[in-house]
Every structure is written in C-alpha cells, then in structure tokens.
C-alpha cells in the first residue's frame, strides 16, 4: 500500500500515523521533518514541480517496497508557506519486522532529500534566501546505492 500526498494543507501527524497503522502491521517507523523553532526562520516556503514531484515520490516508495518487506509506505509532503513547529514532511513505513520498517524509512527520507523536486526558501526578518543543498545529504542518499 503506497500513499503519496503533496499539498499546502497542514500535516496532521496523528492522522498520518493512523493511516499507516491501519495496515495492521506490528511495526511502524516514522520520520517527521519540522520547521525548526531555534534558528530565526519566520517562514519556510516550499516550491515544487507539480506532477514530477508526485511521480518521484511514488518511484521512491516503489523502490523501498521492492527492497524491503513492507506492508505500507506513506509519504506526505507539504508545500507553500509554513511556520516554525509546523510539519514539512511525514514518512511512515509499516512492516512485520522492525528492521525493514526502520531501514525503509531512513532510505525514503535520505533519497527524498536529493531526488524529489522541492526547493526551500527561508524568510528571516526582511531577508529571504534559497536553502543551499548540503553535501551531507548527497552522502546520506549515496549510502543506499547498489
């Protein structure tokens, strides 16, 4: 069961968890990325490439499902403007065995960071700046190769 959503709607972590837990699996791993409250960012704006984004996320979910024995995979990514403490992305994986759920969850967030067409812009006071990609993200994505 693969579910991918890209939307400007506020992400409700409880509802996301219930959706992935409804698979009846014994183990659920999740990763939630939030707008940090501690680095002076007032607004985080997420731009994306409609159509291509959803396709990239579905491809990643299919790769995870092919590699690990998963009962469910769920990726929900917010776009548009969001404030500190709000959820940017929810990744949830359901599996019989916790190792599969945990590894697939790490794989999905690592690869999403380098392969899905999202761009972040930060507003601090009157200043806005596009977020630069980090080398550590490329390294994290590369460890899943092969």
């Amino acid at each position: 069961m693969i579910a991918v959503t890209v939307s400007t709607a506020v992400i409700d972590q409880g509802a996301e968890f219930e959706a992935i837990a409804a698979t009846g699996a014994g183990g659920i791993a999740t990763f939630v990325g939030l707008v940090r409250s501690d680095d002076g960012v007032a607004i985080l704006s997420l731009e994306h490439y409609p159509g291509a984004t959803e396709a990239a996320l579905i491809t990643l979910c299919e790769q995870a499902a092919a590699r690990w024995d998963l009962i469910g995979v769920r990726v929900t990514h917010r776009v548009g403007d969001m404030r500190p403490g709000e959820i940017v992305v929810f990744v949830g994986t359901a599996a019989r065995h916790r190792g599969a759920a945990l590894e697939a969850c790490a794989f999905l967030i690592d690869r999403l960071k380098t392969e899905a067409p999202f761009w972040k812009k930060e507003t601090r006071g009157d200043e806005t700046s596009w977020v630069e990609p980090r080398d550590s993200d490329d390294a994290a994505a590369a460890r899943w190769k092969g």
């Binding site: 992305v89 999403l112 761009w119």
Partner: protein, 81 residues
Amino acid sequence: MLYFAWVRERIGQAAETVSPPTDVTTVRALIDWLAAQSTVHAAAFENRDRLRAAVDQLFVPLDAPLGSAREVAIFPPVTGG
C-alpha cells in the same frame, strides 16, 4: 520551458514557450542558446554547475538529448524534506 526556485526568480517567469533551431539537441545546448537570446537568461544560467534539468518530467544530466521533448525544466539542486 519551466523554471523553479531562484532560476524562476532570475528569469522573471515560471514558464515560457521557445522554438530553438534544430541543431540544439541537448539540454546544455538549449541553455546555451537561451543564454545567447537575452542578458536575463544569460545571468540566470551563469553558473551551469548549479543547474539541474528534467525533460518531460524525468530528471536528466545537462548533456542528455532533448529528443522530441515537449517540456524542459531548469532548476537548482533540490532541497526538500
């Protein structure tokens, strides 16, 4: 053409329709041709190393062939998640 993030901001528009000559056969050649058409495009595409591309919504290297592409997107490296 579709542009995203700071490429879109520098170009000043999110989309435009272009008709390059037939000898423009790769994404890189298309970027070079656009840069030659206007100083705005030239400035937006100044640093080719910071550009990424998709052809008909598939991510490709800049040297990928255009083929009979209907939609080419140019954008910075992604930063989602």
